[in-house]
């Protein structure tokens, strides 16, 4: 850490991707040990906390199934509430992972190697949290399988024109692909752990999951291409997923929803919030697990830059919405946006603007960009802001065309417990991952060491 903290470098000079004089061996050791050493107290405590929150989610869902969606604050006109807000929020979080692992991979951004593993994992867990909501928010959960095109005695098929159906496909496919991407990347590292393993159990389990990987170049050849392809198709996928999610709103006719800017704006927002979440986790775990040499300040700084950019994209989208609302000349649209900023939900709107547009501006300043404290706080604020963005959008329902049907949406205890619970689920999964799976893609990091280059004259 000390090294990185002080590293100042002339423009154009690419500072070392990882610090601390690492060798191939030291990498396998440092990363491997994390999963091998004895379970720490901190981990147990954290896991206990997260786990009990996850149980809160379970309880809330149980009660929901028993009573019906009425336990939430929903009403007509606001027939969608926090469930959908949380869904969109979590899906958004997921995006950073795929972006880092796929898009940056294609752009040959080699610094990604240090963070892509747990960014990907975070994607998986976020998407799992997201997938919970479309499932439970429907009125008759026991029939939710009807949205899949299964032959049945009714002779009925789903309606493929429905954005909600697109969601189901897009998100579940996104999950499957991310899972495969993640696992494929994991195979060589599992092999490494396997080969370090001493106990029989570890030998068996790791052996089993590493598929008997031998790191032969004949395998690497197919492996690399497959990985490249996955990266290649994940890129349009990740861009499409949140675009599709945005169509839930964009294809409707509700003022404030019916907006063509949504797809790009949602994707930008997703990456924005995703990076914020990665940042939060990275800052914590590099400290707790002593990964400062692998996740260096340079990595964090690069992520902060991306947050700054995406944050401003989102800000641009907000202002653009207003302009279009006015320019469209539609009284409903203009009312909807004035209502957002000054109506009953103005408080939510201004929280959103502050957190998403103003907060990231601190990253203009290099010192703050490289300050752990600043970026940690900022990342959390940004996540709050992005949650509120979705909230603001969903509750535009409260005031649409006919004033006679206007109403106000108030969350209930169960809305809150479900949201909190979903965080519990997320962190539970993340802690399990941090305990048992190599946090950093060892084979990839080795690949970016100078010694990895066959033409590197370097010492053995």
């Amino acid at each position: 850490m000390s090294v990185a903290e002080t590293t100042e470098h002339a423009p154009g000079y690419e500072s070392p991707l990882i610090t601390g004089e690492q060798t191939f061996g030291s990498i396998s050791r440092k990363i491997g040990e994390i999963t091998e050493r004895k379970t720490t107290m901190t981990w147990l405590l954290a896991f206990g906390a997260a786990g009990s929150l996850a149980l809160v989610l379970l309880g809330s869902i149980g009660y929901l199934f028993y009573e019906g969606t009425g336990i939430w604050g929903l009403n007509v006109p606001v027939a969608w509430g926090w469930a959908i807000v949380n869904f969109v929020f979590w899906v958004g979080i997921g995006h950073a992972g795929t972006l880092i692992s796929a898009v940056l991979f294609l752009f040959r951004q080699r610094w990604r190697t240090s963070i892509n593993r747990f960014a990907e994992s975070m994607t998986l867990f976020a998407v799992i949290c997201a997938l919970v909501f479309p499932g439970i928010h429907v009125g008759r959960v026991w029939l939710v399988y009807w949205i899949f095109p299964l032959p049945n005695q009714m002779g009925m098929w789903p309606n493929f024109r429905s954005p909600l159906l697109w969601d189901v496909f897009a998100v579940s496919i996104y999950f499957t692909c991310s899972l495969m991407f993640w696992y494929v990347g994991l195979i060589p590292d599992l092999a490494t752990l396997r080969d370090r393993a001493v106990t029989k159990v570890r030998k068996f389990v790791l052996g089993l999951f590493s598929f008997g990987w031998r790191g032969g170049n004949r395998q690497w050849k197919n492996y690399e291409l497959a990985y490249l392809i996955l990266a290649g198709i994940s890129t349009p996928l990740v861009l499409s997923v949140h675009s599709v999610v945005s169509t839930d709103f964009a294809t409707s006719i509700i003022p404030g929803w019916h907006t063509t800017i949504f797809p790009p704006y949602f994707v930008a927002g997703a990456i924005f919030s995703g990076f914020a979440m990665v940042m939060t986790l990275a800052v914590i775990s590099r400290k707790l697990l002593g990964l400062q040499d692998f996740i260096t300040l340079n990595h964090l700084e690069k992520m902060n830059k991306i947050m700054l950019v995406t944050g401003m994209m989102v800000g641009y989208a907000y202002s653009c919405e207003f302009f279009i609302a006015w320019y469209s000349g539609s009284i409903y649209e203009s009312f909807a946006f004035i209502n957002r900023a000054f109506g009953p939900y103005a408080w939510a709107y201004w929280i959103m603007v502050t957190c998403n547009v103003l907060v990231p501006q601190v990253f203009w300043i290099k010192r703050w960009r490289r300050s752990i404290a600043v970026m940690f706080v900022a990342s959390i604020l940004i996540n709050v802001g992005m949650w509120f963005e979705r909230f603001v959008i969903v509750v535009s329902l409260a005031r649409d065309f006919l004033p006679s049907s206007w109403d106000y949406y108030k969350p209930t205890f169960w809305d809150v417990s479900t949201l909190v619970g979903s965080f519990g689920l997320f962190f539970t999964l993340f802690l399990l991952f941090a305990r048992f799976v190599p946090m950093i893609a060892m084979s990839e990091v080795k690949g970016v060491l100078p010694e990895a280059d066959p033409h590197h004259g370097g010492k053995p």
């Binding site: 049945n152 005695q153 009714m154 002779g155 009925m156 080969d195 068996f204 008997g212």
Partner: protein, 215 residues
């Protein structure tokens, strides 16, 4: 680590792959057959409180369905006959038959006989007998060869898909209205031509849209 897994483990992937595919097919087939109303419902033949034989009455004696199930051509429901109807004959015939004890009691006491429903549509599906009868759909199309049944049995799945089949192309199930209760009716050679005629004349267009059956 030396060799940890024995050699045969290398066959596991192949085996599981093949097994998985076959298993999947098996499961689909299983659900397809066993979970379908054809399997779960068709053949439902509950024991009725009174040992009434449609075979004897409708088949051998050739009683017209509408003698007991009145009103089918006028109304949605086909009436289950009141005890009175049984007694119309059984005050004269088989007046002391054991089987008829319950019927006589019911008639005397005024306590209705509790028949067990065989042909049952869910509450959200509205079937109208009169519409079908007047279009010329024979009883047999939905109720099967009742005239051969000692105990009434569900002979068709009565599932939505099944209804739709006929609503989409009813031709085979159409006949002259006079013949609807005829259990031995065979479609004549010129069936197709006559069907065309009826469809034209009676404007038979079975609804496919939801509103046809759901209210």
């Amino acid at each position: 680590m030396a060799q940890f897994f024995p050699k045969w483990t290398n066959y596991i992937p192949t085996v599981t792959a093949i097994g998985g595919v076959l298993g999947l097919i098996a499961v689909i087939g299983f659900v397809w057959y066993y979970f379908s109303p054809e399997y779960t419902d068709v053949g439902y033949r509950p024991v009725q409180p009174v040992e009434y034989s449609h075979k004897v009455h409708a088949g051998d004696l050739g009683t017209d369905c509408r003698y007991c199930h009145t009103g089918v051509e006028r109304q949605a429901h086909a009436n289950v006959p009141p005890t009175r109807t049984c007694m119309n004959c059984h005050t004269m015939v088989k007046t002391d038959s054991e089987k008829l004890a319950l019927v006589r009691n019911s008639y005397a006491s005024g306590q209705p006989i509790e028949w067990i429903r065989v042909h049952n549509l869910p509450d959200f599906a509205y079937f109208d007998h009169s519409a079908h009868i007047n279009a010329g759909v024979g009883c047999i199309s939905c109720h099967g060869d009742v005239n051969r049944m000692e105990v009434v049995m569900l002979s068709e799945p009565l599932s939505m898909g099944w209804c739709l089949e006929c609503h989409r192309n009813p031709d085979e199930n159409l006949r002259p209205v006079a013949e609807v209760t005829n259990m031995r009716w065979e479609n004549p050679a010129d069936h197709a031509r006559r069907v065309a005629g009826w469809i034209e004349e009676k404007q038979i267009q079975p609804p496919i849209a939801c509103s046809g059956c759901h209210r």
